[in-house]
Structures are given as structure tokens and as C-alpha cells.
Amino acid sequence: MSVVTTIVPEPHAPPAKNYLNVSYGWRSWLFTKDHKRIALLYLVSITFFFFVGGFFAVLMRIHLIDPQGALVEPETYNKLFTMHGIIMIFFFLIPSIPSVLGNFLVPMMIGARDLAFPRLNLLSWYIYIIGGTFTMYSVIHGGVDTGWTFYTPYSSTYANSQVVPAALGIFITGFSSILTGLNFIVSIHKMRAPGMTWFRMPLFLWSMYATSIIFILGTPVLAITLFLLFLERVFGVGIFTPALGGDPLLFQHLFWFYSHPAVYIMILPAMGVISEIIPCFARKRIFGYEAIAFSSLGIAVLSFLVWGHHMFVTGQSIYTGLVFSALSFLVAIPSAIKVFNWTATLYKGSISYDAPMLYALGFIGLFTMGGLTGLFLASLSTDVQLNGTYFIVAHFHYIMVGGAVMGYLGGMHYWWPKISGRLYPEPWARLAAAIIFFGFNLTFFPQFMLGYLGMPRRYAFYPAEFQFLNVMSSAGASILGVGYVIPLIYFAWSMRYGPVAGPNPWGATGLEWRTTSPPPQENFEETPVVTDEPYDYAKQEAGVV
């Protein structure tokens, strides 16, 4: 059992003509129709927003070192957690894997030259940028303080902050998601290469497909909700105002109808990445392919049936609460199925601990913890105690950061050689993964305890007895921050000085590894014909490559 995958770098340079050097100049990038270049445009943008959102998190954690608040006024603190949430959710997490890795890989994995609608793909990036500009405008001009959830009537009537630009920004960016989802669905249905049946597709494609279903069916409801909020705020009348007979709970129903499935938009793609990494670094076919594929679809469907668990304590009917609670328990099952199957894949595998695998293993552990703590919240009685506390904050950060972000980083490391044609420095990558894992747990595990002990979330100050745990959390955050900066540096470094990667440095299966690194603009010299089952690592190990 090897600990290190031996990668023999190709002695010669990257292929002469690839998608990166086929044309030069800013016009060739800003007007590109190549899905790979659009993926890189997204990569730059979401990285920018990640650090903006991270900046707000840093300020919050510094502020919370002191029980009275060390840094800002409470009104400003409200803006910090709002902007952190809005930017991280809508401008980093939701687009991250689909718009970067999805855009880059979906056509390659189905053996196509591009997505079905390349111009819509480029349009989706511009829409994202315009939406991001509106939101950055709101950040620069004083920020929003309503919480990323924009609950009415505070957001519609009483808030004095930049609600309109922020809501507009999210509204606009939603169409970027819709176009991406549309492109993926049509491409996967209509453009698979000969021989690529549904059950020969890599599981990453199944998860992209399931995510796209949520994009298509959920995002429009958020759009109309924010649009109504915008009308209410701008024209002073609307349908969420109690003064006219409006019901704030209606806003919450419409908001969470999208925003709960949205969290599955954020985790499903990461699960798809894990399903690619585990077989490769265990040198073993994935266990339970069909189970994982169908569980992705199951998650997409069930995710729409549980949104009321965000509203248990708001005045929603208790009977509806019962139904939502039961369904929330149900939705945990497909996720658990995946965890069991990944674990079974590892069993008796030939495991190597390269950076992508470290992230994948971290994902399995941390996602499981986050998911299990969700059951505490799905249960009506315990949710009464834990709602509005740091338990919730820890729960979703374990899934979003311990899960989704680590899945994203694992995927970036795994496919970096394909994207850039270069290898990143493995020792630094492992160090960064370890720092991130340690820093993450130090940041968020204390928050479970804080929430259980009763510390409310979104509060700018807290009782003195909670200070020790808060300081631990802030210390973890500073370590986590360092961990996130390191990959930025070595990825950039590798683009110039990294060893040349060659077509398949990991010895992985999948169509994307059968072409050069970086790929040519048309992806393949000629359209591939698929005859192998996916994840045929046994065949590989037996020497039949």
C-alpha cells in the first residue's frame, strides 16, 4: 500500500496549442465562448468574492474576542454578518463548483466539444459580474444589516441600509445560476458521446445534473421573492406589510422554498467531487454507483420538501412543522447512503494521501458531523432550544466549509493539472490541507458548545462566561485564514514554475484524462467513443490500461 502516488512529470513542455494559448488578448478572454475559459473567468471572480466574504468573517471573529465586542458598534456588526452571509452564499458557494469545475468538466466528461449553449454560458458570467457589482455597491455604501435572510418587515420597511442594491444584486445573479443549470441539463441529455449511457457517466455528472434541477426549479422563486421585496421597499407598498394585512411568514415561505434547496446546491457538487477523488486515490471502483447516482436525484427532490424546518419557531402551523420535521429526517438518508458508499469504497483500497484525498477524507468526516447535527435541528423540540444559537452556525459551517469548501479545494487540486497543465507542489498542498482541517475544527467545534450553552447567533456581545470558547474560535479562524491563503500562492506559482503535468498524472479514469493537459480548445482530437464502465480501476491495476 503506497503512501505517495509517484508522479513522473512529462519531460517535454505542455502541448503546443491548447485552450490557454490558442489566442491572446483581453478580447479573446472577455468574448470567449470556450467553456474552459469561462470556467477560469468564474474562478477569478469567485476567488475575489471568497476573500471579500472572508474579510467580513475575520472582522467578526476579532470583534467577538471580547464579550462587549472588541471592534465595532452593534449596528455595524449586523452589517458584518449580513455581508458575510450574502457574499459567501450567493457569490462564492453557489457558483463555486458548478461554474468553475462544472463548466470546465461537464463537456469533457460527456465527450463533447462544448456545452449546448456557449453564448448563454458567457452571458451567465456577465450576469454574475453585474449582480456582484450591485452587491459590492451596497457593501461600499454602508452595507446591509438585515441578515442574509432579508426577513420582512424589517428589510422591507424599517431597515435603513442598502437593502435594494443588495437584493437586486442577488436577484440578478440568480439568473446566472439558472442559465448554468439550463446549459448542464440540456448538454447532459443531448450531447453525450456515443456509448456514454447514463450509467457510464462519472458521478460528478450525476451531481451536476441534480444540482441543475435545483437551479432550475428553485432559483426563480427566490427571484420573484426578492423582486417583490424590491417593489415593497422602493414603492412603499407590498404584500409583506402587516399594516396592509400582509404576512411576514409568507416571505419566509417563499424565501426558504429556494434557500433550503440552495444549501443542497452548495453540497451536491462537492459530493460529486468526492465521488471522483475517492476511487482514484483508493485505486478501486466506486462502491454502489447506482445508489450514489440515485441518491443525488433523491436529494434534489427531497430538498424541496423540508424548508419549513427554518420556520419551526416563527408561528408556522405546528402540524406543518411536524410534516417538515419528518421530511427533514428523510432527506438525511440519501446523504448517509453516499457516506456509506464512499467508506465502502475505501475499504481494502490502495489508499494514497495526496492533497485531493486529504480534502476528500476531511469532507467525509466533517460533512458527517454537520449532517448529524442537522438532525438535532430537524427535531422540533430540540430546535426550540437550538434555533437562533451558535449551534446552527456551527452546523451549517461544518457542512458548508468542512464540506463544500473542502470539496471545492479537493476538486481544484485534483483537476488543477488538467486545467493548467502544471503540477502544484504536493508538500505545500498537504500542509495547507492540514492547516485548514485543524483551523476549521478549532473555529467551529467550540461553536457547537456555545450554541448548546445558549449563546445566540447574530449578537454583537455575549455573557462573559462564553469568552473562552469564543477566543478559541477566533484563534481557529486566524489559522484557517492562513490555510486558505497558501493554495492561492502555490497555484499561482505552479502556473509558471510547476512541473509539466502530462495528460493523466493521477492515473485516473474518465474522458477528461484522455486528452492533453491543458486540453485543446475543442477538448478532443476526435469525438471519443465510450466502451468502458466508469471507475475501471481494477482493469488499470491489472495492467490493462
Partner: protein, 225 residues
């Protein structure tokens, strides 16, 4: 430009024209799915408040001009008819008929918007515009007061939001039709390549279907007996 393309225009990512046509068709239907959910959120909100404040909604509905609403419905259905015929003209390679039918669709669409605009003007005159000018007088006030003016204002919010959003979609559709008409006159479509006409048609029919529901939901609440 004397003669534009004949036959197929196949984009590089597709293997052949058939795959492209299939992809375009599936793409527009998936997009219409998003529109169903977009309007669906609005319809849900409407349904909730109608069930909570039925008398006010019924009263507000009776303030609308049912004749104009019915005429507009017929106008929009006629535009769907001409749109369907235009797709048929494209399929049968009748270039002049295609352009003419697209123009007819646009004219009918403009007629719809004109009548809608007149109805909006009527509402301004009657002072039932929420927030901006909600001070109904005389007979209108007498109709709305029993259900509660606050709830009546809520009804008119939905009237303007729903018909306004619909009108916005129609304006976009008119723009698409105009571009389509120009392309048709340039001879860009043929019996093999008419997907843009079909796709635009599907969008136009969908906007028509929205109105098919808006008419009873906004104009016919509670009846007029």
C-alpha cells in the same frame, strides 16, 4: 446582403442540425419551466391573500373592466394563433407569409399592450394605485370599503404586479418577434432551419397561457351577478 444562408446553420458544438434542434427545443422548455416557478411564486402569494381576504379581492375584481379583459384575452389568443401559423409558414418555407404573420403577431401584441395601458390609465383616474395614489372615491369607494381598504390595496398590488410582470414579458416577446421578423425577411429560415421561430413561438404561447390564468384570477373573482 443579397442572399442569406440557406439550409442549416449548425453550431460547432453540435454533431448535426437535428441535435441542435433537439437541444434548442429542450432548452426553451426548461427555461419555460423556470418561468412557471417564477410566476408560480407570485401566484402562490396571490392565492394566500385571496383565501385570507376574499371579500376584498372580490370587490377589487369587480372594479376592473371585464369587457376590456375579455377582449384582451381574445386579442392575445389571436396573436398565439398567428404565431403558430408563422411557425407553420417557416416549416413550409413560405418566407413572405412568415414575415407577415410575425408582423400580425406583433400588431396584436401591441394592441394588447395598448388596451392594458388604457386600463392602467383608468385605474389611475379612479385613484386605486397602491401607495402612489390609493384614494378611491364615490362608487369605487363604495364597492371597496366593505372588504376593507387595506386589503383592497393588497388586491390592487397583485393586480399591478401580476399584469405588470406579464406585460414586461410581452414587451420582451415583442422585441424577440421584431428580430425574428428581420431575420425572416432576410431569408435566414428554411424548412430545415427554423428553430428560432419555434423557440420564440413557445415563449410567446407561454406568455399567453399566463394571461389565460390572469384573466379569471384577477377579473372574475366572485362573479359579476
Amino acid at each position: 446582403m443579397s442572399e442569406a444562408h440557406r439550409g442549416q446553420v449548425v453550431a460547432h458544438q453540435f454533431e448535426d442540425g437535428g441535435q441542435q434542434h433537439d437541444a434548442d427545443t429542450l432548452g426553451i422548455w426548461v427555461f419555460l419551466g423556470t418561468e412557471i416557478m417564477f410566476f408560480g411564486g407570485l401566484f402562490t402569494a396571490y392565492a394566500v391573500y385571496r383565501s385570507l381576504y376574499y371579500p376584498a379581492f372580490a370587490a377589487g375584481s369587480r372594479v376592473l373592466d371585464i369587457k376590456l379583459g375579455a377582449i384582451n384575452t381574445a386579442v392575445l389568443l389571436s396573436s398565439s394563433f398567428t404565431m403558430a401559423l408563422s411557425v407553420r409558414a417557416a416549416q413550409t418555407a413560405k418566407r413572405t407569409a412568415l414575415a407577415g404573420l410575425l408582423i400580425a403577431t406583433m400588431v396584436l401584441g401591441a394592441a394588447f399592450l395598448g388596451i392594458k395601458g388604457f386600463e392602467y390609465y383608468q385605474k389611475f383616474v379612479e385613484h386605486v394605485v397602491p401607495s402612489l395614489d390609493f384614494a378611491p372615491q364615490g362608487e369605487v369607494l363604495a364597492r371597496l370599503a366593505p372588504g376593507g381598504l387595506g386589503h383592497a390595496q393588497l388586491y390592487f398590488c397583485f393586480y399591478f404586479f401580476m399584469t405588470g410582470l406579464h406585460a414586461l414579458h410581452m414587451i420582451v416577446g415583442m422585441g424577440l418577434l421584431f428580430v425574428l421578423m428581420l431575420r425572416a425577411r432576410r431569408g435566414e429560415f428554411s424548412a430545415e432551419y427554423y428553430a428560432p421561430v419555434e423557440v420564440t413561438g413557445l415563449y410567446w404561447h407561454f406568455v399567453d397561457i399566463i394571461w389565460i390564468f390572469l384573466f379569471p384570477l384577477l377579473y372574475l373573482i366572485g362573479g359579476r351577478y
